[in-house]
Symmetry: D2
Subunit: 405 residues, 4 copies
């Protein structure tokens, strides 16, 4: 075992951290107080700078227009980007676009790559991903209401989606729909289809109000309706009936990135806690950091973040070496473990900041409310724990049903 980080990567990470600190974090207070569209000019300026620095679309291979960092390198970079509310966006690595880029690289036809991937990597357009449905449980992903029926050369899509992040302003929506309702195995009934958002029958119903805000543009979670929405069958992404397999393929690395992003949040929160504990006077000459409970909060946070990072890097390493399927249990493990650490660290950070912690003068309150969903999206804690237990019990001859227990 070797826990050292390659010195070249180390240097890059240091530069990115400094860039985040000096260039991106200063934009946060506007992000927290103004409509997102008002930030776009400043953000675009930073995005141009990222291109110049050759970090643009860091996880995307150079041949497709990205910076070409390896998967493991990008895992580390994700942490640095996660330190700011805007890091991912500024590097053109924001969800859900980066996931869609990866899908298109892996499964897109040359035409799809040209039409959708290229402008996405260039940052000229945005996209969304339509999977979650309000009427069906996320914990049972094979049970969907949205259908895509073949009609001539087309698919005709009908259905209702929500939590389609960044649908507002998206040019196309990668959409999960039942195409093969009669397939014997439930996970072989759906496909992923590219739906341009200007297709008749596609409608962004609203930006769902989440934790007090509907948001606008990228910073939204859209509710989308498909009503006899007709797209050519050539818009199928990957093989028909393999929608779930593709979703898994997309979500595996996606969960690694999320986890590393959360670790970046945690590290920033811990720094803020330390700074606050060191400066907030309780009485003349006495600072908060001299109180033993505060010390325990700092130490427990340090320990949990260390644990989280090592587990995520190990899962990434395994995914990289043995593939998505072999690393599935590790990925479920980090998903619930790191989301829990994130919530605990943010909770402590707010407590240490007192009244300031619930204001929007720091990013803590934003993370506290918006990352509550970390224990829900991409699989609720309960689902991932069952995945892990299923694997453990398999060796003892017990079959655990993900949904039915």
């Amino acid at each position: 075992m070797d826990f050292s980080i390659d010195s070249k990567l180390q240097a890059t990470l240091g530069q990115i951290r400094e860039f985040i600190r000096a260039d991106v974090i200063p934009l946060e207070s506007d992000f927290l107080s103004k409509p997102f569209t008002q930030l776009l000019p400043a953000l675009n300026e930073k995005r141009e700078k990222v291109k110049t620095l050759r970090w643009w679309s860091p996880s995307i291979p150079k041949e497709h227009g990205g910076a070409g960092f390896s998967f493991l390198e990008f895992a580390h970079i994700s942490e640095e980007l996660g330190r700011s509310l805007l890091g991912y966006y500024v590097f053109n690595s924001q969800a859900p676009d980066v996931g869609n880029m990866e899908l298109l690289i892996a499964f897109g036809t040359p035409e799809q790559k040209q039409k959708y991937l290229a402008p996405l990597v260039q940052g000229k357009i945005r996209s969304c991903y339509c999977m979650t449905e309000p009427e069906y449980p996320g914990s049972n992903p094979v049970w969907l209401g949205t259908t895509a029926e073949k009609d001539g050369n087309d698919y005709v899509i009908n259905g209702h989606k929500w939590f389609s992040t960044a649908a507002d302003g998206a040019t196309f929506a990668v959409t999960m729909a039942i195409t093969n309702p009669d397939a014997p195995k439930p996970h072989q009934r759906a496909s992923q289809i590219i739906v341009p958002t200007n297709t008749p029958g596609y409608r962004l119903v609203r930006n769902t109000p989440v934790m007090g805000h509907s948001g606008e543009d990228w910073a939204t979670h859209g509710e989308v309706e498909f009503k006899n929405c007709r797209v050519p069958q050539s818009n199928l992404l990957g093989p028909e009936s393999e929608g779930f397999a593709l979703a898994q393929e997309r979500l595996g690395p996606g969960r690694i990135y999320h986890c590393m992003r959360w670790i970046g949040i945690c590290e920033r929160a811990l720094e803020m806690m330390c700074a606050r504990a060191a400066s907030r006077q309780l009485a003349p000459g006495q600072v908060l950091g001299q109180k033993q409970i505060i010390q325990a909060m700092l130490a427990e946070s340090r320990a949990e973040i260390n644990a989280a990072r090592l587990m995520v890097l190990q899962a990434a390493w395994k995914l990289d070496r043995e593939g998505q399927k072999k690393a599935r249990v590790e990925i479920s493990t980090i998903k619930f473990f790191v989301a829990d650490v994130l919530q605990k660290v943010l909770d402590r950070a707010i407590q240490i900041h007192g009244g300031l912690g619930v204001t929007d003068y720091t990013p803590l309150a934003f993370w506290f409310r918006h990352e509550r969903a970390a224990r829900i999206y991409d699989g609720a804690d309960e689902v991932h724990k069952t995945v892990v237990a299923r694997q453990l019990l398999k060796d003892y001859g017990v079959k655990v049903d993900l949904v039915g227990a």
Copy 2:
């Protein structure tokens, strides 16, 4: 011991619950999606109805224009009001007005009562309470920066406050300021002074953005500046140098009400959890409530809420019989215990609601973000725990310093 509730009170509580359900809860979705001022007409209509039902200003004695419920009766009523985001407001029992009313009743001069109390009880004006300061720690309440110097017949006030709830639109501000800086005992240095908000030198700097919103009107937390703000000494509320004693007097019952309000929130959240667990299908024929983890969440919430309610009612009973001072440890105990229960119950409620839980389609997300402060305001957990420990250790001859340990 007798745990039964008087049948007359029981009946009243049932009627109030029904009123909250039928009349107040339907206004919540507007509260969650529109500026507060747009709700005022509808709210005022309900407030008139409350007057007709003889529940108006429930905790205020009849001679002062309230409904005249006893302290213990009002503790129970608080729970019912707490079930809705708007219950307290509709009954004219909203913070910080109700606390100011109680202060004025106990310590106001006849002139102060006529000028400030009467219109407050009638719901014609609103008020705020200026205690917390951004530069000084809430955990050390005797360390304040705001001063009120005597000059002729006036006090000249200078200082900086924040988290002055509902300052936006308030007619007057009860203000804590150092009037006797040289008093030997730190807790005998401050006084409470009534400052009309149209006094020159008083300035509402801004509504502090909290958890994503600056709000407007009553639904705000104001930052206030006092700059050579001059009020007559007759605006002193209660005896000079007794500001902290008055604050304690105000906060004791206030913490009981908060705690009962939180229990109302918890009960509503538990009902929502049960309804969700009973209706959300995981697969055809199987609902969420059949999962053992969900059952545990429900049962643990039920247990914790029961515990919280009994403790609060016991503390209220003791305060009522033996007075504020004797009940101080009980009040500190419930403050941190119930705030913790509240946070845990809301967290579970959101988890059970999944994606819906983080939207603004239920009040859960509002409570989750805004009641995070319950563990901070009116004394952070850490402070109240030290108060309890101090009392425990006193009998063993150990002197615990609230701030210095």
Copy 3:
């Protein structure tokens, strides 16, 4: 509501506490270091004293030879007895005898009362209760392997039991066995039968080693075998096929007593924590109690114990007024809630005592290891939580199966 305790009861409780302190606690160090039989002379002396003080068999009506305290009075007394490892024994209220006394009073025939109840109340004999079976899960109490077949006027019992507390030295065993295997409802298949331990076919296989000790005499948990063990049908206790109903009847108040006993343990542990925090020097002039984490441990323990006591007393009050069945959910609620508090308080007490906490120089280590079972015996946490959730979800039309979910 009235949280006051009758002054006469108050006085009795004070006297009992003093007796426990002065007479019983001094025997603990022998209990922790010597075989139980060596303590018997000293214990018997104290038992005689308890008789003189008219506290003997406190929960048993005077007409049956007890002190005749009411159920609610005894709930309070239980706490005082629980403060010592030996309190219950010295008052002849030890498990499982007191439960068997209550069963015999409620369901015993005059002959059974004369033969079994009278000497039990007098403290001349001991008894045990054979329910739990090693091969069958305690969480599914209707699934038993032990059978009692009718043969002529007899029952012929075959089966295997364990955790029959105090079987070593018991004169008779109240035994749960399947008598009506074909009854349509599973909970109407078993009966309770009195089996004298000298009956051929009854065998105490061994005292099960628990947490490092097999123990002897009363301080044991027996493994018992029934092999063609023949007793007359007149030994049936209560109606045939009503074994589970009787067990419930027995366990309801039993859980109240357990919970109050645990609270007694907690109070004693908290006193020990405070004394330790006040006296243990960390450095010259500085004691443990000045550290904020220690203070938090004390305060959290205080809060949780208060919560636990109020809940148990409320459940007892309800059981007393509305009967066992109506109070079932309250009883399940306190069972898991108080067991959890107990474990947390003991854990903190040990931590505060440091190395001393794991030695046998205090009773903490004994309670820590032996009360771990509190979350298992008389229904595991998981079972009681499901009972509570089942009741909550019933109102929403969901049927929760206690075992099958």
Copy 4:
């Protein structure tokens, strides 16, 4: 980063695991039910086998008679040994002997090595380590009551120690005593001195009863008295006044081994949980493992153990590369983190085993009671958290006093 384990080490670990399973675990039930001395013949037989397999004294360099595994290799081996209650003993790696061996190797004179190290490595004698004192707090290690005064060529030692593990039967005791009471820095006042246990004035007062047992021979924690105990100054181990530095040197790797041993315990407990969950029927056809709460317990344990292992290996790797001092914070971090994981995993394992879990038919109950001390020995949680916080706050200019806060 590379998380792979060298294939040769992998193979060795597999062989050791198999040996532990086949040869050592079968001795556990005797360990749990009989006096330790009765096991010695069987244990010695296994120890001979370990020598033959060339694993004897695995962490000791070959030149001193050990198997010569590297520090990092031994960290991995520790986990395998920890899977059994007897693993460390059978490999002659038991505390406190292995720590004393390492001290002697690093600081012993040639004579000390010959006289004490050689027979220790050969397993011919045992030793103990006298540091902890009943009257002085472990959390303030520089505050000691034991003194060693120079008198002629001797030290004359007076003092009182306890928790001297395995003092019963030890040939010598490495003893921490104040030799330089006037040194300006508190941590430069003590030295380590080798005291043969047959020295007049050295007395094993008793084996302290811990969690119900005083034990015998190696399986003990001794209370030791030094009364004018005279040893030649040549028995000084390492430089005078460097006792604390040596203790640190000894404890650093010791904590790594402890942590890896705890992970071994956790892995074994998790296997037992899975086996139990897979086999325990709740009703015909339904096993415990199908319940969601049980699944969550398994998954959370899996996650926490993974986290713990990675953190410990990372700390070991850093200690190996950068030395004890640089890794100090990492070591404090793992000490409290892994001890917490250990306690949680054992608690769950007992809960899943139900009544069986508290019996001595599995090793779980032994670990549950004896490893409670893991959060106390070698530095209580609270101390290690303060160490971590001190380091974090240093960068922000705050000086944290380990004891005085």
